[in-house]
């Protein structure tokens, strides 16, 4: 195992430590790095402009996560309700798109959404000749792209706990007089929270650091942290500030992951209680 650990240390730990170090230096006038210690890059992260971009990214990523979880949970629920022998097939096909190229899946939405694209043509086919607002280059397009790209993972994450659910639990709940809704809310949902949390966190974390989707589907009109980091490294040539932004991104990610672990712990505690109640 030594070589693998050496590899990870040399090509992940050290470079990431380097980025952390970079964040404490100053940018030269034309890019490059001046080796004088400063905290101003971290201060700049909290500048209203950049803090605003963080918040906006979080909002877009959060919306994408919410939508993906709603659709993904419904899909996972439907798959788990299907006949046993069909479940692996459904699941396989739900996940398959996830393994095709991300850029291509995003590009497919440009083809669908542009003003002269397929959706417009369908509308015309049906006789609609009115003004067609652009669907591409909107926040909706960016969110649709994110949901589309990450949905398979959410389905997977939600399916795992749903498929392990003991059907007797739901029956017991109903036998005790609970309505279907109550059963879902009090028994099924708590038991599947870890899956929901994992799916939501996954979508959120990948979305907030994404730069490809806003660049291609947002028409440059939407800045997310990913774009900002990209810009600092490849266009503004302010590596130290880019490094500080990247570290802030990692910090947000760790916070979200910790929150998820905590939520999962609580949920499993509650689930055990619920199970105890149902068994009793």
């Amino acid at each position: 195992m030594a070589p693998a650990l050496v590899w990870l240390t040399a090509l992940m730990v050290v470079p990431c430590a380097l980025v952390l170090a970079l964040a404490f230096f100053r940018r030269g006038i034309y890019g490059g790095i001046e080796y004088t210690f400063t905290l101003e890059n971290f201060g700049l992260v909290f500048d209203p402009l950049y803090a605003g971009i963080f918040l906006n990214s979080a909002r877009i990523a959060g919306t994408a996560a919410l939508i993906a979880v709603v659709i993904g949970y419904a899909a996972a629920y439907a798959i788990a309700a299907a006949p046993r022998r069909l479940q692996p097939v459904f699941l396989f096909f739900a996940v398959l798109p996830f393994w095709s190229n991300y850029l291509i899946r995003t590009y497919a939405w440009i083809v669908l959404l542009n003003r002269e694209g397929l959706i417009t043509q369908l509308l015309r086919w049906f006789g609609y000749t009115g003004e067609q607002p652009s669907m591409l280059y909107t926040e909706g397009a960016v969110i649709a792209g994110l949901v589309y790209n990450y949905l398979p993972f959410v389905i997977l994450a939600c399916y795992a706990p749903l498929s392990r659910l003991n059907p007797e639990l739901a029956e017991a709940s109903r036998d005790l007089g609970a309505s279907a809704l109550t059963t879902f809310r009090r028994v099924i949902l708590p038991l599947t929270v870890p899956g929901i949390a994992a799916g939501a966190v996954f979508v959120f974390v990948l979305s907030i650091g994404n730069f490809v989707t806003p660049a291609l589907l947002g028409g440059g009109r939407f800045q997310m942290i990913g774009n900002l980091v990209y810009d600092q490294f490849l266009t503004a040539n302010d590596w130290p500030f880019g490094a500080a932004l990247a570290m802030a991104l990692i910090a947000i990610m760790l916070l979200v992951l910790m929150a998820q672990a905590l939520a999962a712990d609580r949920a499993s505690g509650r689930a055990a209680e619920a199970k105890g109640d149902a068994d009793g």
Binding site: Y107, I110, P152
Partner: protein, 263 residues
């Protein structure tokens, strides 16, 4: 679960809608790749001409070759290192928190962060970037994925048979070859295929760690450049081929090791 007709109908509707959402964009892309006309969005008859024009596009062919080199080499290294890592960790049952984090990190660290970290690292070392730097980078996340697939398999492995084998006088090599390897082989191959797929599709890290010019332009980088310069039927054709390759690799991987997609 029990089902009433109304509920079954609801479930079926959900499945149909979700699969439509997942597959219509891809289906449209594939269909339009066979479009005769030059507009990438309006159908005007069947033709294979965009595939023919791909075959004559030297930039795309060289990008495809680069992608293949990167994917094969990084998969080979990652499979070896990732498998050894998995065996090492599972055999000794060392689940130190730091170790777990180190192995888990490449799978969750945002691509853009790893990408800029490696870019800074390589340029600070004054290393000329090229295919080799992309390979070095791809091994990082590939080995983590191989390791996790193999570890999943090893969780149910009974290590006492390794000891039994040794007690019976088998050499370490024989034990590994005759006992350990047969058990984990499907997982190793599945992990390798997964790594291969990830590497073929990876864009962001390759984009930041590539060197100048065609010599280290990979297919996803080429596709990104093409998309940025407008939508053309040629991209549709290229996209269809790339998807066919990754989907084949994943299907193989799935057959060898059910569970890789979560089942």
């Amino acid at each position: 679960m029990t089902s009433s007709p109304a509920r079954a109908f609801g479930m079926r509707t959900i499945l149909i809608l979700v699969f439509a959402f997942l597959y219509i964009p891809i289906a449209v892309l594939v269909a339009l790749s066979f479009n005769k006309g030059g507009l990438p969005t309006a159908w005007s008859g069947f033709s294979l001409k965009w595939y023919a024009s791909l075959a004559g596009n030297s930039a795309i062919l060289s990008a495809a070759l680069n992608t293949l080199i990167v994917a094969l080499v990084s998969t080979a290294i990652a499979t070896l290192l990732g498998t050894l890592l998995a065996i090492g960790v599972e055999m000794r049952r060392q689940y130190g928190k730091g170790l777990e984090a180190l192995i888990f990190a490449p799978m969750i660290i945002p691509d853009i962060v790893l990408a800029i970290a490696l870019l800074s690292f390589f340029s600070m070392l004054n290393l000329t970037m090229g295919l080799h730097t992309i390979i070095l980078a791809h091994v990082v996340f590939n080995l983590a994925f191989v390791c996790s697939v193999v570890r999943a398999r090893l969780k149910s492995f009974d290590w006492s048979i390794v000891e039994a084998s040794a007690d019976l006088g088998a050499s370490a090599i024989t034990t590994f070859r005759r006992v350990t390897l047969p058990v984990i082989l499907p997982a190793v191959v599945a992990g390798a295929l997964l790594a291969f797929t990830l590497s073929v599709d990876e864009f962001i890290i390759a984009f930041f760690t590539a060197g100048a010019g065609r010599a280290s332009t990979t297919l996803p980088m080429q596709i990104y450049a093409m998309i940025r310069f407008g939508i053309t039927p040629e991209i549709n054709a290229l996209a269809t081929i790339v998807m066919a390759v990754s989907i084949t690799a994943l299907t193989l991987s799935q057959r060898l090791n059910p569970g890789i997609t979560g089942q």
